[in-house]
């Protein structure tokens, strides 16, 4: 069996005060805690650093608010790839594989996992150590690849997903756009204005543990 790899995240980079463990349980990050060691399910530690760096260029933390790093987007992506989706359990994968007309969309056999491994090879292990400008140049060069498009899509998903999936840590993504969470009391009332209620996650609302699909099968 593969040795378990860990991603080490400095605690102060995480946006909210809530942190979701591998088992999906929320816990408080105390100010004293210097770093978090998160067990990885799919990536190696080096790969996780590369993906973290790339997501941070896609959705940076900057003067307009927190970004992919604070939302722990990497944890979302790691779990998605480790689960059945990453293995293409929800895609029709019988052959023959043939390129077809553009109207037929992606007819290529690479699974999301394979797409990431191919993309990571393009970026190289040193990507995380490069300057932001250099990283942007490298990403621009691969903008049209399946990998980049998937990475971009999943960065957005990891920013704004329910925290039960590992991303949107502390619900900072939802705070950024004023999304209140899956509450049943809208009745069309405007969620707009200065006094936004703090968002609530599905587990907070239902009062019970909710398992993401990536944790099944």
């Amino acid at each position: 069996m593969k040795r378990r790899e860990f991603l080490t995240i400095p605690a102060h980079t995480l946006g909210g005060s809530l942190w979701y463990s591998l088992a999906g349980r929320p816990s408080l990050v105390s100010a004293q805690q210097k770093e978090l060691r998160v067990p990885l399910r799919f990536f190696t530690a080096v790969e996780a650093q590369v993906v973290t760096a790339a997501c941070d260029r896609i959705f940076p933390s900057d003067e307009n608010g927190p970004g992919a790093k604070e939302a722990a987007v990497i944890i979302y992506i790691d779990r998605q790839l480790a689960g059945p989706y990453g293995r293409d359990k929800y895609r029709y994968t019988k052959g023959p594989w043939r390129e077809s007309v553009p109207e037929h969309g992606n007819q290529r056999p690479a699974s999301p996992r394979e797409t990431y491994r191919q993309g990571l090879a393009l970026l190289g292990a040193s990507f995380a150590d490069q300057t932001a400008e250099e990283q942007d140049r490298r990403l621009q060069a691969i903008e049209r690849t399946d990998f980049f498009q998937l990475l971009r899509t999943q960065t957005i998903e990891g920013m704004f997903c329910d925290p039960l999936h590992g991303g949107n840590a502390g619900m900072i993504g939802w705070q950024l756009i004023g999304f209140p969470g899956p509450v049943m009391t809208h009745h069309g009332q405007s969620a707009n204005g200065s006094k936004r209620p703090a968002p609530r996650s599905l587990e907070q609302i239902t009062g019970r543990r909710v398992k993401g699909w990536e944790d099944e099968a």
Partner: protein, 610 residues
């Protein structure tokens, strides 16, 4: 033993033959369970429903309000890895499988697509049911495209109207009538066919966007109405005594089961009744693969059960309620009827495959402030039917039929789906700091132009058959769709884009929003060809169509198979062509009409009804 002609298919493993039942139904969605309810509550017959997906109940839906698993991974849909469709544009092309859910979505599990539908519940315009006649009368046969294969429905508005009323009362459709017994009523859809009575429930409240659409439409001289919806606007108790609470506008609607049971779903309207009937059995995890038949009679169905055991369930009556694609595929695989040949026009099985047409202007409205409308219910919206059917197309050359425009919303409101809308060119690329800044600046400020849904006429070259290459998880051939848009659909879409743009500009004038080009619903469809990669609608019709003779159809107007009088094929597979709006209440109406004929006539005198 005769296996409907497929001798090689069933494996070496022994086939378990069960005790014969009165009725076996393939498919436990809207139509299959509605049929089961009619039969078990009105007769003493024993009914078994075979549903390939899992059991479902309303109580499990509270934990489903999760955009990643349900909107993005599409957790409620049938797992496409196990079964999909293939598509080619013409008979000269090689079909490719739909590998990830794209242009249409197919349900599974108890309730089928009826659990995660959006609840849009318009009736079809009255002349839909006599469309072939209406087109001939208006244009003359010589002026119609030669490859058109539109047919009449083998009944008329007066035949279906009572069933529409029954379905609306069962579901508690919220809306406002526009035509009661010929009396036109402002505020409703004045172009609808004459209704026997008002909707059972009032319409949804109007969001700010809906009010803008309404004002704009009025100013243009159109007749806006609040779109009828199955997402209960007010508390309601239906004639079966089933009580449901009003919608809470949670926004997790299409692609989700309703957590509080407001949306009309088979699990909250049909299962509570069926569960109490001793004569009803639902078997989940059972994939029907063949309808067994001999000497012009269906003998039952062969299926794989959840343990992988192959089972033969004999029955006196067989009902296929497996939704359009699988109704047709089951008939093809079971060698029931003559497959349609587009070159000769011979055969009926698989012909007249249609897929509701959609479109709209490639425009967006940019509001000065966030709209702050929160979430919407499925189906909620304002529509105009001023261009439905023959309405408003007098001056358009080459357009045979129009469609319905709907507007007034700002996207789904869910955080991932609604994220990132901005005017073209607002950021140099679609990632990075400048893009992030623009996404936040424009968040919740962009609304689309009114959307358009229209009839899709049937053509000789659009049809269904079995794919020669690709198979499902059992090794059975997939259903192959051969379909493309014609010049007519391109013209209708161009016309719709113009009307939608006109309405969007008027809405902008009303609301003070700015109109910008690009990014609207027309985007991504620029090739104009039929595509399977992006969502269009889940409304697939035809292939086992009804008609007035076995020469032009698979079933009669009671959805009874022309050649096997104890086989009934219910649902939208019987639509001769797609109607202008969403299909479910029409699909259920013809199914209830079929049940009446089956119970009141067939059971008394078994045989062909016609």
């Amino acid at each position: 033993m005769h296996w409907g002609g497929v001798e090689t298919w069933h494996g070496r493993r022994s086939l378990l033959t069960l005790k014969k039942v009165d009725v076996v139904i393939a498919g436990g969605g809207w139509t299959g369970l509605a049929t089961a309810k009619e039969i078990t509550t009105r007769t003493a017959l024993e009914v078994v429903v075979l549903e390939r997906g899992a059991a479902r109940s309303v109580s499990e839906y509270s934990a489903n309000m999760d955009e990643v698993d349900y909107s993005i991974r599409m957790r409620m849909l049938q797992n496409i890895a196990e079964e999909t469709l293939t598509h080619r544009h013409t008979i000269r092309d090689t079909a490719a499988p739909v590998r990830q859910w794209g242009h249409a979505r197919i349900g599974t599990g108890t309730g089928g697509g009826g659990e995660h539908w959006a609840g849009v519940a318009n009736r079809y315009p009255a002349d839909t049911f006599v469309l072939a006649t209406a087109l001939r009368e208006r244009f003359g046969t010589a002026k119609l495209p030669e490859h058109l294969s539109v047919q009449d429905w083998a009944f008329t508005w007066n035949d279906i109207e009572p069933y529409y009323t029954r379905v609306e009362e069962m579901m508690g459709i919220g809306g406002k009538a526009g035509n009661i017994q010929g009396r036109k009523i402002e505020g409703g859809n004045i172009f609808e066919g004459p209704r026997s009575k008002e909707y059972p429930v009032g319409p949804h409240r109007k969001t700010g966007g809906m009010a803008q659409f309404e004002t704009a439409a009025r100013q243009l001289g159109y007749h806006p109405y609040n779109r009828p919806a199955a997402t209960l606007p007010f508390d309601y108790k239906n004639p079966d005594g089933i009580q449901r609470p009003a919608c809470a506008y949670c926004g997790y609607c299409a692609m989700y089961g309703c957590m509080i049971g407001s949306k009309a779903q088979p699990t909250n309207l049909l299962m509570p009744i069926l569960r109490r009937r001793k004569s009803f059995t639902l078997r989940n995890g059972c994939w029907v693969r063949r309808i067994k038949h001999q000497n012009g009679r269906a003998e039952g169905v062969v299926y794989m059960d959840s343990q992988g055991q192959e089972v033969f369930q004999p029955a006196d009556l067989v009902v296929a309620g497996a939704f359009t694609p699988n109704n047709v595929r089951l008939l093809l695989m079971s060698k029931i009827g003559v497959p349609y040949d587009p070159l000769t026009g011979q055969g009926t099985l698989g012909k007249n495959f249609t897929h509701q047409l959609s479109g709209g202007a490639d425009l967006q409205l940019i509001h000065k402030q966030p709209m702050g409308e929160g979430m919407r219910a499925g189906g909620q919206g304002m529509s105009v039917s001023d261009f439905d059917g023959f309405n408003g197309i007098e001056n358009e050359t080459g357009i045979l039929r129009g469609g319905t425009f709907t507007g007034g919303g700002g996207g789904s409101g869910l955080p991932i789906a609604s994220f990132g809308a901005m005017p073209a060119g607002a950021a140099p690329r679609n990632w990075g700091s400048q893009w992030k800044k623009a996404t936040l600046e424009y968040h919740d400020r962009i609304a689309g132009a009114p959307t358009f849904e229209a009839e899709h006429l049937a053509y000789k070259h659009n049809y269904l058959d079995l794919d020669p290459t690709y198979t499902d998880k059992w090794g059975d051939p997939l259903l192959r769709t051969t379909i493309d848009w014609t010049e007519h659909e391109q013209r209708v879409r161009a016309f719709a884009a113009r009307v939608s743009a006109k309405m969007a500009r008027e809405m902008a004038a009303v609301s003070g929003a700015k109109v910008i080009e690009g990014g609207g619903r027309g985007a991504g469809r620029r090739t104009g060809r039929y595509q399977t990669s992006a969502y269009a609608t889940s409304h697939l019709h035809g292939g086992a169509i009804m008609g007035d003779s076995p020469a032009n159809s698979v079933v009669n107007s009671y959805l009874q198979h022309w050649h096997l009088s104890n086989l009934w094929v219910v649902g939208a597979s019987a639509f001769p062509q797609a109607g202008a709006t969403n299909p479910t209440i029409t699909s259920l109406s013809i199914t209830l009409r079929a049940c009446d004929a089956l119970i009141n006539r067939y059971l008394k005198h078994p045989g062909a009804l016609a």
